[in-house]
Subunit: 282 residues, 2 copies
C-alpha cells in the first residue's frame, strides 16, 4: 500500500469523526473517489464540502483536486494487481503481461508490509549471530541458496543445508547466539515449521520470511511478511519468490552497510574479485 492510503488506514492517527468517515469511504472505494467532485463525495459520506476540503489540507495536500491527483497516482502504482489468471487460450504476450504484473503486485504489497523497525531488529540479530542457518524446501530452496550465496560474500557465517535431515540436525545444534532463517511461501510446510520449533527450543532466534499469520509466523520471533493473501493461488509460488528475494536483498544490503566499512567500497571489492572471470569491457 502506498503512503496516502496507508496514512488513511492508520487507525492510530488522531482524526475527527467526519475525517474518519471520509477516510473510511476513500479506503473502501478509492478508485471511485478519483472521479468524484468534492460535492459528490461530501454528499456520499454525509458531510459538508468544506469538511472534505479540510480533510485534504489536513493530510498536507493543497486541496481536494490535489488529493485526487495523489490518489490516482497511488492507485496507478497498485494497479498492477489487475493481472488476471492465466487461462488456456492466453497468447504468449498475455502470459508475459500477466506474469510480470503479478510480480510487480507481489513486490508492491511485500514492500508495503515490511516494517523498517523489524528489518533493523532482524539485521541486528543476524549481525550478532555466531552462526546463521537458512532453511527452505522445494522452490524456497533456491531462495535459501541465493541468500547463502550473498551472505557468504559479506563474510557472514551462514549455511543453507539442502536436505531436511541435515537441516534438522543443524537446527538442533543451534544456541542462543544463533539465528535460523526460515523461508516458506505458505508458512505451512510442516518440516520447516518443525525445524523452527526445534531451533526455538534451543533459544536461537527464529526469523520467518513467510506469509503473515501463518503457523510458521507464529513460531518465529521475527516475521518478515511476504505477500500471499488475496492474490490468486496460481501466482503465489511464482511471484512471492521474487518478493522473498527482494527482502533478502534488503537484508544483505543492510548487513553489508552495518558491517562497518562503507558499503560501496566493499561491494566494489567483491565485484573486482569476479572480474577475473569476465571477458571484454571494464
Amino acid at each position: 500500500m502506498g503512503r496516502l492510503l496507508a496514512e488513511l488506514a492508520d487507525s492510530g492517527a488522531r482524526r475527527s469523526k467526519s475525517a474518519r468517515r471520509i477516510a473510511d469511504y476513500v479506503l473502501a472505494q478509492p478508485a471511485e473517489v478519483v472521479s468524484l467532485s468534492i460535492g459528490e463525495l461530501a454528499r456520499r459520506v454525509g458531510v459538508s464540502e468544506p469538511t472534505v476540503g479540510r480533510f485534504c489540507t489536513g493530510l498536507g495536500l493543497k486541496g481536494f483536486p490535489d488529493f485526487k491527483l495523489n490518489l490516482a497516482a497511488e492507485l496507478a502504482r497498485q494497479d498492477f494487481h489487475v493481472a488476471g489468471d492465466i487461462v488456456p487460450g492466453d497468447s504468449c504476450a498475455d502470459v508475459i503481461t500477466k506474469v510480470f504484473d503479478a510480480a510487480h503486485a507481489s513486490l508492491q504489497s511485500t514492500r508495503g508490509g515490511l516494517d523498517p523497525g523489524v528489518v533493523e531488529a532482524v539485521v541486528a540479530r543476524l549481525r550478532a549471530a555466531r552462526s546463521i542457518v537458512i532453511v527452505g524446501q522445494g522452490a524456497s530452496a533456491s531462495v535459501a541458496l541465493d541468500a547463502q550465496h550473498k551472505m557468504l560474500r559479506f563474510d557472514i557465517p551462514v549455511l543453507a543445508h539442502p536436505d531436511n535431515l541435515t537441516q534438522r540436525m543443524a537446527a538442533a545444534g543451534l544456541g542462543a547466539d544463533d539465528c535460523l532463517l526460515c523461508i516458506s511461501y505458505t508458512g505451512r510446510t510442516r518440516p520447516v515449521i518443525d525445524i523452527a520449533r526445534i531451533a526455538d527450543a534451543t533459544g536461537a532466534t527464529v526469523i520467518g520470511l513467510t506469509a503473515p499469520s501463518s503457523p510458521l509466523a507464529g513460531v518465529a520471533r521475527f516475521v518478515l511478511p511476504v505477500a500471499s493473501g488475496e492474490d490468486t493461488d496460481l501466482y503465489i509460488p511464482m511471484s512471492s519468490r521474487l518478493a522473498q528475494l527482494a527482502v533478502i536483498d534488503v537484508l544483505t544490503t543492510r548487513l553489508a552497510m552495518a558491517q562497518g566499512e562503507d558499503y560501496p567500497a566493499q561491494f566494489r571489492r567483491i565485484k573486482e574479485s569476479q572480474l577475473s572471470t569476465r571477458v571484454g569491457k571494464r
Copy 2:
C-alpha cells in the same frame, strides 16, 4: 512509456498545430503539467483555454481535470525508475525503497525487451528438446536451480549441474536435439561463454538469458534479454536476478500450457501433491 504519453509522442497522429504544441509541452514537462491549471498551461503553451480543453476531449478524456488525473497515474507508474544509489547514510526505510524500486525498474525494462515471438521460438525448442541443460555460475546458480526445479515439475527433461566441470562435460555431450540454457547477468562470465561455445559446436540450441549485445548473447542462437544497461552497477546483480526469474516463470508457464492438457488442471495436480506436507487451512 504508458498509453497516454506514447499517444502524445506518436508523430503519426493527425493533429492540429496547437494540439501539436500542447502535446510537445506536455511531453517536455509532464510532471509539471500535473500541477497546472488549464489557464496556466494555455498561457505557457500560448493557446487559449478551450483549445487545451478540446485537446483533452480529443484524446478521449472527459476534460482537462481528467487529463491531469490520467497523466498523474501514468507518471506514477514510471516513477519506479527514480531509484537512486544506496549511499552510506541511508536509513533502513531508504534501502527498502531503493531495493524495491530497482526491482520494479528491472522488471519493467525486461518486460519491455521481451519479444513474444522469440519467447515462443524458445519454448518450441525447449518442448522439442530431448534434454535440456541449464548453466549458471555464482549468483545465477540459484536461478538455474530454480529453473530446474520448476521444469522438473512439468516433466521436462532438465538438468542444472552445479559445478563448472560437470557443466562442460554435459555441454560436450549434447546433440542437435538438445538445448542449453545459459544464465548470466553480464553475459561476460568466461566459463559460461565457453560452455555455450562447446554446446553450439555440437549443434545444440543455445539459449541465453542474459544481457543483450554481450559476448554470451553473441554466441546464443536465441537471446532472452534481461535489462542491465542503464541501471547503476550496484543493482545489476540484485535486481536483474529477479527479472531473470520472471522470464523463467514465463517460459515454464508457456511450456506447461503447450504441454497439451490444460494448464490450471496441471497446476492443481502439482499443488495437491504438496498439500500432504502442509498444516492447517485448505
